[in-house]
């Protein structure tokens, strides 16, 4: 009983905190960072759905993130579509491209899948970089509008943007939560566990893997579209491997295959690396080893570590309870 | 020669082997009997250093060897021929055998000599010397595993279910070979399900059940033990 109480209320408390924090901080810069972290975390949730729950590590996600961002950018800047329509279409375009990539890429497994998608990500980067006439090439795409007003609500202050991104992030987390906790999610987990077993249980692994892949590109696309509308300037580097490694780092540090891992990892690393800025040249000298140590001492990520402790604790308490009961009896 | 003193081995919380005592004297053939999962392989892995005992000591020639790394134990003279053979699948038969002589790698002539001996013992291996290990049949792989162990010129050889999955005829040959090896001066500790054959060549035996030793004695004693006849020999 107490555990339900605490878990539920923790989540509510965190959400409330997320809503009031701008008033506590009163700091535009932190607001900016928090908004960015929310955006990254959506992409990491996408990655987690595929890598963490379905067991396929895609290294093309920075590419899909960029496709989302560029779709929004091109639709608003070049096609002059209304923002909200573009915001809707961008993830759909990402998913369509994701479907094609997924169909072929999912022929491979394990390392080969990882490298295959790494190549795909790199190809996406090269296309964005080289296809000047469409994407603006290295110059990037400038002048992406922020979200258009909805009636009286406008999104041109950092605060309103933060709330917009926060709401989308929460919706995405809710979506992931529901997927993971539904029969679909159980199916993904079964595939990660053992494709052979899943198949023998009558699960169409091909269909479900593709579904998972496409869904994960959807989240990458949403994150990309948000990013475009928030930074309002995008360049090819957002599809580069650096961003991909960032995603991967957020995911692994937070805890792959856990529900809160992406958000924990993203916020931790983003805030950490921002707070190490004062170290100047020494920043990476500290951050690099810190990252490595974190992995060595907690290979399952922060959330994995906490969960293990939690389970140990539970086991102990239940053992104690059992003992107590045995004594009574 | 080898002495296990109240050895316990855990996998996580689960005790696969509990406080067993085993003694092997020089020149003997000693057999471990027991059902699947009784703890024989675990015991072997512990002796050869692949597992660390949770409790107790393993002494070899008077010195403790528990906690030493597997390669040190091989150097001390104990070589294991594992249940799942652990061959190098893409290497040829001859390469596998040469790797078996790894600890004597500086003595080229001795290696050649040993190689010849192994080929004499198992002529089939000579015919297949350039074949990849993974293409051998189960029986041949088992011979190769034993041959590889012999290349190290061990003082004590651990054989974990050498007859597993082999045709009866091959099993017979196998046991004859084991006797040969033993006569040439190698002490042997053997785990077997095929109690009948094993006891017929062994000096003494231990019977495992659920990780404990429940019966020990000379081959004759075990052979005449009714329970054992019923459980393992099926007479």
């Amino acid at each position: 009983m107490s555990s339900i109480f605490s878990k539920r209320n923790m989540v509510i408390a965190l959400i409330v905190l997320a809503f009031v924090i701008p008033f506590v901080l009163q700091n535009q810069y932190y607001l900016h960072i928090l908004t960015l972290a929310c955006i990254w975390s959506i992409a990491v949730y996408g990655l987690n759905l595929l890598a963490g729950f379905t067991g396929y590590l895609s290294l093309a996600h920075a590419g899909f993130f960029a496709i989302g961002a560029y779709s929004l950018g091109l639709l608003t800047v070049k096609a002059e579509l209304s923002f909200w329509l573009a915001f809707l279409v961008a993830p759909i375009i990402t998913m369509i491209i994701g479907t094609f990539v997924g169909i072929i890429a999912l022929r491979t497994k394990e390392h080969f899948f990882a490298i295959y998608t790494l190549c795909v990500g790199y190809i996406i980067y090269l296309i964005i970089d080289k296809w000047d006439s469409l994407t603006g090439g290295v110059r990037g795409l400038i002048g992406i509008p922020s979200p258009a007003n909805i009636g009286p609500i406008s999104f041109d202050t950092p605060l309103s943007q933060y709330y917009f991104v926060l709401v989308v992030t929460l919706l995405c987390i809710l979506m992931v939560y529901r997927i993971v906790h539904s029969l679909t999610g159980r199916t993904f987990i079964a595939i990660r566990n053992s494709e052979e077993l899943a198949l023998s249980l009558g699960i169409s692994t091909a269909k479900n893997k593709l579904l998972s892949f496409v869904l994960s590109t959807f989240f990458a696309g949403v994150a990309g579209a948000l990013y475009g509308s928030f930074i309002r300037f995008i360049g090819p580097e957002i599809s580069y491997t650096t961003i991909m490694f960032d995603f991967l780092t957020y995911l692994i540090v937070g805890g792959i295959g856990t529900l809160s891992g992406p958000i924990v990892g993203t916020f931790l690393i983003v805030l950490l690396s921002q707070n190490l800025q004062f170290l100047q040249d020494y920043r990476m000298l500290i951050f690099g080893p810190l990252l490595t140590l974190l992995i060595i001492f907690s290979p399952r990520g922060i959330v994995g570590f906490v969960l293990t402790k939690y389970h140990q604790h539970q086991r102990k308490t239940s053992a104690v309870l059992k003992d107590a009961r045995a004594k009574e009896g | 020669m080898l002495k296990l003193n109240s050895v316990t081995v855990n996998y996580g919380k689960y005790s696969a082997v509990r406080q067993i005592d085993i003694e092997v004297s020089e020149g003997e053939i000693v057999v471990l009997l027991g059902a699947n999962g009784a703890g024989k392989t675990t015991t072997f892995k512990t002796i050869s250093g692949l597992l660390k005992p949770t409790g107790g000591t393993v002494n070899f020639e008077g010195a403790p060897i528990n906690g030493k790394s597997p390669d040190r134990i091989v150097q001390a003279g104990i070589v294991q021929c594992a249940e799942d053979r652990k061959l190098f699948p893409q290497m040829s038969v001859q390469q596998n055998l040469m790797m078996g002589g790894y600890i004597h790698r500086s003595k080229k002539t001795q290696l050649k000599e040993s190689l010849k001996e192994v080929y004499e013992l198992f002529p089939i291996l000579y015919d297949k010397r350039d074949e990849s290990a993974r293409l051998l049949s189960g029986g041949q792989q088992q011979m190769l595993a034993i041959g590889r162990a012999l290349m190290a010129k061990p003082k004590l050889m651990l054989l974990d279910e050498p007859s597993i999955g082999l045709a009866p005829l091959v099993v017979e040959q196998m046991f004859t070979s084991i006797q040969h090896i033993n006569k040439d001066g190698t002490t042997i500790l053997l785990a077997e399900q095929n109690a009948n054959a094993a006891l017929s060549i062994a000096d003494k035996g231990y019977v495992f059940e659920n990780g404990r030793i429940v019966i020990e004695g000379t081959s004759e004693e075990l052979f005449s033990n009714d329970e054992i006849r019923k459980a393992y020999i099926g007479a």
């Binding site: 290295v138 002048g143 930074i231 580097e237 650096t242 800025q277 100047q280 | -």
Partner: protein, 378 residues
């Protein structure tokens, strides 16, 4: 450190121990640029000019409205990434109230321009990207000149001395592409011929032989090259190895003196035309700048350092004229005054005026390599 948010990030130039101006107030000037990663050297060069200027300014301090001020540069690393630059700018404004933020790459500048008017800071843009000043941002100052000025004299010189065939191998940045888009049509309009045209990505190319072999297959008379000095020099060297005997048009990011440091001698670069290296320039303030730069950093300054140095003095003068150290708008309005009242000995370059879009207009000099030495072009 995380909880201690009120302490400003310290600049990499230590301010402690300088006994002057203890009662002076501090004006924070922001800098965001690549201080790690492949572009770190570029970032460090730009920052070094600011640091030198900071040091010199703080010897005396400066007075605005009767109050004494010191400068403090707050530098943050953005790894050449637009979003990091934007985050840094937010941070600088929020924590240090910086009225001016420097950024040396077009992506970061564009990202800052999204909100700099709202957040009221001047983007001190070190980029020759034309868009930077054409978007109509009212708080942008573009420091380096646009390259248009080079097109004509470079073409004239190279075509006359070597011939009409040019192979174009600019760096694969927007700046490089724009440069060649401006140069090549002009080259053709003067009767020249473009025999090869591709961009080289210095951050991805291990060896230039492949590209050069193709570029040289139609025997060009002139190679158009440019980008960071050092890889550009490598490109020139390898062109010579492959038997190229013509001249080079070197775009302004690369500096002839820095290229020579790689090639070992000017002979290899014979016939190259490019901007006059700062060390050979003879504006009123160039010499003192070079001396103090060499004293501090133990190497020759490049133009990045020179421009950053110069611009900071102009900003200080503009602040004085505006009578404000924190009103970005006011400072921006008084940039022309700042330019006008710049002391002679700080004129590393001569900035004539600031145009209505915020771009510095300045006279530039070119140099050519003739007979193994740098010579100015008339």
């Amino acid at each position: 450190a995380c909880s201690n948010d009120t302490t400003a990030p310290t600049s990499s130039v230590e301010n402690e121990g300088k006994e002057t101006n203890e009662d002076a107030e501090i004006v924070y000037i922001g800098y965001s640029g690549p201080l790690s990663g492949p572009a770190a050297y570029y970032g460090e060069n730009t920052l070094s000019g600011l640091q030198l200027a900071e040091e010199e300014i703080n010897k005396e301090g400066f007075e605005v409205n009767g109050k004494k001020y010191n400068i403090q540069i707050v530098s943050l690393d953005d790894k050449y990434m637009p979003n990091e630059a934007a985050a840094n700018a937010k941070r600088l404004v929020q924590e240090n109230k910086t009225p001016i933020i420097y950024n040396p790459h077009s992506g970061g500048i564009a990202a800052m321009q999204v909100f700099n008017e709202q957040d009221q800071f001047i983007v001190a843009a070190y980029s020759s990207e034309p868009d930077i000043t054409q978007v109509g941002n009212s708080l942008t100052v573009r420091i380096p000149p646009t390259y248009d000025g080079y097109i004509e004299p470079f073409t004239k010189y190279a075509m006359e001395r070597f011939g009409p065939k040019i192979a174009s191998l600019p760096t694969a940045t927007q700046y490089g592409k724009d440069w060649s888009e401006a140069l090549l049509p002009y080259w053709e309009s003067k009767g020249g011929e473009v025999v090869y045209n591709t961009a080289i990505d210095f951050s991805k190319e291990t060896d230039f032989f492949t590209i050069l072999t193709n570029a040289l297959k139609d025997d060009p008379d002139v190679l158009f090259i440019g980008g960071a000095s050092e890889p550009t020099a490598k490109l020139a060297i390898q062109a010579r190895e492959l038997g190229f005997e013509g001249g080079f048009i070197v775009m302004d990011q690369a500096k002839l003196d820095e290229m020579k440091a790689i090639s070992g001698s000017y002979e290899t670069l014979e016939g190259a035309i490019g901007t006059m290296p700062l060390i050979f320039s003879d504006y009123p303030g160039t010499k003192p700048f070079i001396d103090s730069y060499q004293a501090k950093f133990n190497k020759d300054p490049g133009s990045e350092a020179g421009f950053h140095y110069l611009s900071l003095f102009i900003f200080v003068e503009a602040m004085k004229a505006a009578g404000s150290v924190d009103d970005a708008k006011l400072i921006h309005e008084h940039m022309q005054d700042g330019i006008d009242s710049l002391p002679e000995d700080k004129k590393v370059y001569v900035v004539e005026e600031i145009d209505e879009n915020g771009g510095f207009n300045l006279a530039t000099q070119y140099g050519v390599i003739e007979d193994g030495a740098v010579a100015p072009v008339e």
